[in-house]
Amino acid sequence: MLSIKNAKAAYGKIQVLHGLSLDVGRGSVGLFGPNGAGKTTLINTILGLVPLQSGKIVFDFKDVTTRPTHERVRLGISVVPQERELFPWLSVYENLVIGAENTPLGRDDIPQTLEEVYAIFPILRERHGQLAGTLSGGQQRMLAVGRALMARPKLLILDEPSLGLQPSIVHELFNILKEMKERVGVLITEQNVRESLRVVDKGYIIENGRIVLSGNADELASNPEVEKAYLGL
C-alpha cells in the first residue's frame, strides 16, 4: 500500500534521513530506534510535511512524492502525530468531526464512526463539549487517536501513541490496533517496544536515519541485540 524508496531528507544542513526504503502493506509495521533516529521525520515525509530531497513515495499505486499533505490525507493516510496537533479552541466533538469531514472516506458515516471512537475512549464521550486545549496530556493523546480514526484511513500512522497514556488504556489501544490491522495498514513508532511487538507483523530498526535491521516481530523479539537495546524494561 505504501512504499518508500530511498528517501533522503534534511533540516537545513542537518541530514536526517540517509536513503530509507520501506514498505507497508495490509497489516502492521513498527518503526523502532533510539531518540533522534529519524522516525518522526520519516513520518513527516510520508505526510509531505517535510519535503524529500530525493527518493519516491508511492501510496495506493499513486506517486505522491510531490503532492501536498492534504491530498495525501484525502487519499487515505491518517496520522496521530507525536505532538498531537489538536484544535485547542474547538470542543472534543468538533475535533473528532473535523477529522472526518475533509476526507472522502471519513465523510460517509460520521455518526457511526463517532460511536466507534467513543466506545474505545469513553472519556471522550463524557467530555465531548470540553475544549480540547483544556484536556489533560493523556486525554489529548486519546483525542488525537480518535480524530485519526474518524477519517477511516487506509493507512493509519501512529507516532508514539502510548506516550503519556495510562497503562490500562495503552493495553486497550494495542488490542484495538491488533484488530484494525486486519482491515487497514498500520505504521507505528514506539518506545514501548515490548508492547508493540505484540501488535506489529514486521519491524524496522532505524538508527541515524538508516535502517539497520528489519524482520518480522518474532525475529526481532528473539534478536539478542534488540533484546539488549529495547526490551530491557
Binding site: 505526510l47 510535511l49 501536498p68 499533505t69 492534504h70 490525507v73 484525502r74 491518517s78 496520522v79 502525530p81 496537533e85 489538536l86 484544535f87 485547542p88 479552541w89 474547538l90 468538533e94 468531526v97 473535523i98 477529522g99 469531514e101 475533509n102 476526507t103 480524530r147 477519517a151
Partner: protein, 307 residues
C-alpha cells in the same frame, strides 16, 4: 461566581438605564449611535475574520476599502451605476484583488514571525494609497445621491434614516459569516486552520487555499462595503487609514476571533461617542471615549480572566 453575576446584572441595568435616559433626553443620539456603530461593525468584521483565521493584522484593511470605494466611484461615473448596485461587481473585483494580494505577498510570509506580515501589509497599504493618490490626486470625491438625505420625522425631531443601511449591512455580514463558519465545510475548516494549521493539514484540509479564500472573502466584504461607504462619505486616498486603526481596536476590544462581540463593541462605542457628541462642546472628547472604553474593556476582561 455570584459576585461576578451581580456585577454583570449591575452593568446591564446601568446600560439599560443609560439607554432609557438617552431615549428620553436625546433620542437622536441613540439613533446616530446605532448608525455609527453599523459603520464600525461593517468595517471591523472582515478584519476580525482575517485576524481570527489567517492571524494577520491587515494594516491595508482600510486601504482596501478605499480602493473599493474608488472602484465604485469610477463605475458610477463611467457607467452611471449606483454605488449600492456597483457594490456587487466591486465585491467580486475585490475578492480577486484580495486573492492576488494574498498570493503575491502575504502568503510568502506566513511562516515568518507575525510582525513581518504586519509590516508587509503596512507596505501594501502605502503602495495602495500612494498609487491612488498618483492617479486620482488627493482631492476628495463624492457622489451626490438624493436618497442619502432621506429623512424621517418623529414628533418634532427630524433625522436621517438612510444611515440605517449600515447597521443592516453589518448584521448581514455578521449572520452570513457566522453561518458560513458554523455550517459550511469550508467555514469549519477555516476555524480549524485558524487554531492549528499543522493539525488542519493532517486532517485533509488545504490550508493555503483556506487562507487565500478567507482573505478573499474578507476582501470581498470590505469591497462591498466600499460601495456603501461611498454613498455617505467623501473618498480620498488617505480615507481608509483611520478605519484600519479603529477596526483593529474594535477587534481587540471584542476579543480576537469573536465576531458577534465585534458588533456589540461597535454598538457600545457608537452610542457612547454619539452621546458625548450630543453634549455641547463634547465633540473633541468623543475620540477619548472611544479609546478609553477600549482600554477599560480590555483590562476588565483580562482581570476577569485572571480571577
Amino acid at each position: 461566581m455570584s459576585t461576578s453575576k451581580i456585577v454583570r446584572i449591575a452593568g446591564f441595568s446601568a446600560g439599560a438605564l443609560f439607554v432609557i435616559m438617552l431615549i428620553v433626553l436625546k433620542p437622536t443620539a441613540l439613533i446616530y449611535g446605532i448608525q455609527r456603530a453599523g459603520i464600525y461593525a461593517a468595517i471591523a468584521i472582515p478584519m476580525a475574520l482575517i485576524l481570527g483565521i489567517v492571524h494577520i493584522v491587515n494594516l491595508a484593511h482600510g486601504e482596501m476599502m478605499m480602493v473599493a470605494a474608488y472602484l465604485s466611484y469610477y463605475l458610477a461615473r463611467t457607467f452611471g451605476l449606483d454605488p449600492l448596485l456597483s457594490a456587487i461587481p466591486t465585491g467580486i473585483i475585490m475578492f480577486l484583488f484580495g486573492l492576488m494580494i494574498f498570493r503575491t505577498t502575504i502568503q510568502h510570509t506566513l511562516k515568518a514571525p507575525e510582525l513581518n506580515q504586519l509590516i508587509l501589509t503596512f507596505g501594501v497599504a502605502m503602495v495602495l494609497s500612494q498609487t491612488v493618490n498618483l492617479i486620482a490626486t488627493s482631492q476628495p470625491r463624492k457622489l451626490s445621491l438624493d436618497y442619502v438625505s432621506a429623512s424621517a420625522t418623529l414628533g418634532d425631531i427630524s433625522f436621517g434614516i438612510y444611515d440605517f443601511v449600515f447597521p443592516v449591512v453589518a448584521i448581514i455580514f455578521l449572520i452570513v459569516l457566522l453561518l458560513f463558519l458554523k455550517r459550511t465545510k469550508l467555514g469549519k475548516a477555516a476555524l480549524a486552520v485558524g487554531q492549528n494549521p499543522n493539525g488542519a493539514q493532517i486532517v485533509g484540509i488545504n490550508v493555503q487555499l483556506t487562507y487565500a479564500l478567507i482573505f478573499g472573502i474578507a476582501s470581498m466584504l470590505i469591497g462591498i462595503f466600499g460601495g456603501f461607504f461611498l454613498t455617505k462619505f467623501s473618498i480620498f486616498p488617505a480615507v481608509g487609514g483611520s478605519y484600519t486603526m479603529k477596526s483593529f481596536c474594535l477587534v481587540a476590544m471584542a476579543g480576537i476571533g469573536n465576531l458577534p462581540m465585534v458588533a456589540a463593541a461597535s454598538l457600545l462605542l457608537g452610542i457612547a461617542e454619539s452621546s458625548i457628541m450630543a453634549v455641547p462642546h463634547g465633540a473633541p472628547w468623543a475620540p477619548m471615549i472611544f479609546f478609553v472604553l477600549i482600554v477599560v474593556v480590555i483590562l476588565v476582561r483580562s482581570f476577569r480572566r485572571a480571577s
